[in-house]
């Protein structure tokens, strides 16, 4: 059984991070980029999960990192530095999204609630999809399209946990929700994606160049 791992970083990396943090806090602010470098990708991913737009995600990622730079003195060591950084990013991205959507109705997908158990809709037998399939741009696009169809609350959790490999606890802290909510949303996100992708992953992608995943096939 694979063990649950709370931390992504090895002890040596953590020691290095603590040392960098101490030096930045002591005034060596030029070292700040070294401190955030391991997380810049994750910061971008968190922003992208919420904004779904490359340019906005990059802008918000930069804003968030700049904010962390200006307010590094407020960081408290009881939480992980990476979690603090992602929390800032999530807040920035949510703010940007609220501004952009102030006068627009939320899409139906964003009102999917968490009540009740999710029942899988598609029971077609699955073939293993080799990772080489991801070399094909259209497959990546179909996966991205399915992810975009998830409601916001499910996409946030899925991206941080399953794409950026944060632990359940880190995901909960970064999003300001309970670990129980993370688990519930994660289960639904995974099952919804499986249903959304089932027609393609059921064999069509691995057999030929033809993609059978079409909009009309989504189960809700």
């Amino acid at each position: 059984m694979p063990g649950r791992v709370i931390s992504l970083e090895r002890p040596a990396e953590q020691g290095n991070e603590e040392m960098l943090l101490r030096r930045v806090l002591a005034g060596e602010r030029d070292l700040f980029y070294e401190l955030i470098r391991p997380y810049e990708r994750r910061v971008y991913a968190a922003a992208f999960a919420i904004l779904r737009n490359e340019a906005d995600a990059e802008d918000v990622a930069q804003e968030a990192i700049l904010k962390a730079f200006k307010h590094i003195g407020q960081f408290r060591a009881e939480s992980r530095f990476s979690t603090w950084l992602i929390q800032i990013t999530v807040n920035e991205a949510r703010m940007r999204r609220r501004k952009a959507h102030a006068n627009i109705m939320e899409p139906i997908a964003d009102r999917q609630d968490e009540e009740g158990n999710y029942t899988p809709r598609d029971f077609a037998d699955w073939r293993e999809i080799p990772s080489e399939t991801l070399e094909r741009k259209e497959v990546r696009q179909k996966l991205a399209q399915a992810l975009a169809e998830l409601g916001q609350i499910y996409r946030e959790v899925f991206v941080l946990r399953d794409m950026q490999h944060l632990s359940i606890e880190e995901t909960a802290k970064a999003l300001g929700i309970s670990t129980a909510s993370v688990k519930t949303r994660l289960l639904r996100a995974r099952l919804m994606l499986r249903d959304l992708l089932a027609p393609g992953l059921g064999g069509a992608w691995s057999l030929s160049g033809k993609l059978s995943f079409e909009k009309g096939t989504k189960p809700w």
């Binding site: 899988p120 598609d122 099952l191 499986r194």
Partner: protein
């Protein structure tokens, strides 16, 4: 312990994360051996995790790091300069940045990433102890610790050290070997 289909669907996430207790794991294993539908749900969900967990699924825009460093440098400069000089120097830095940006993108492209790796968790020089005994499938690309639920093709497993596996082009499984891996 016996579980029904609804219980399997409720626990599939925890099951794949290795977070169910041994008795429940055995019961789920037993159930999916005899239930085609639940086997499809578990296999499909596992496949979703593997595909989306791949770093190719979320590419950072080209030049992202470079533009970020420039922005931090501008902020750093603004902090250290008296306000009267800030505006002038701010413009100078912006102009210099504009000149550098085209070349910068190329520099970032050529220096930041090195050879392309199949996953963000599979950096060359990963932290898996070189002498650790691992399992790798003849047809697969990943190596695992014993018992990892992501091992496929169990009949074609080979045992070797992590160093040998790396030399042969295998990369560590991001689930069972996560604690040795560092996010890039």
């Amino acid at each position: 312990m016996v579980v029904n289909c609804e219980q399997v669907w409720l626990e599939v996430s925890n099951y794949l994360d290795g977070e169910v207790d041994p008795a429940l794991r055995v019961a789920i294993d037993e159930h999916i051996r005899g239930c085609k539908h639940c086997a499809a749900v578990v296999d499909g969900t596992r496949n979703v995790l593997e595909l989306y967990g791949d770093e190719r699924m979320l590419e950072v825009p080209l030049g992202f790091s470079h533009r970020l460093q420039q922005r931090l440098s501008r902020q750093r400069l603004a902090e250290t300069m008296p306000s009267s000089r800030r505006n002038f120097l701010g413009w100078m830095v912006a102009a210099a940045a504009a000149v550098l940006v085209v070349g910068g993108i190329e520099v970032v492209r050529s220096t930041s990433n090195g050879p392309e790796l199949p996953s963000e968790m599979t950096e060359a020089g990963n932290g898996v102890p070189p002498n650790m005994l691992i399992f790798a499938s003849e047809d697969g690309k990943l190596f695992h610790v014993a018992g990892c639920i992501f091992i496929r093709e169990k009949t074609k497993l080979r045992t070797m050290t992590a160093a040998e596996a790396t030399r042969e082009g295998y990369t560590p499984c991001i689930h069972c070997l996560k604690k040795y891996l560092v996010a890039t």
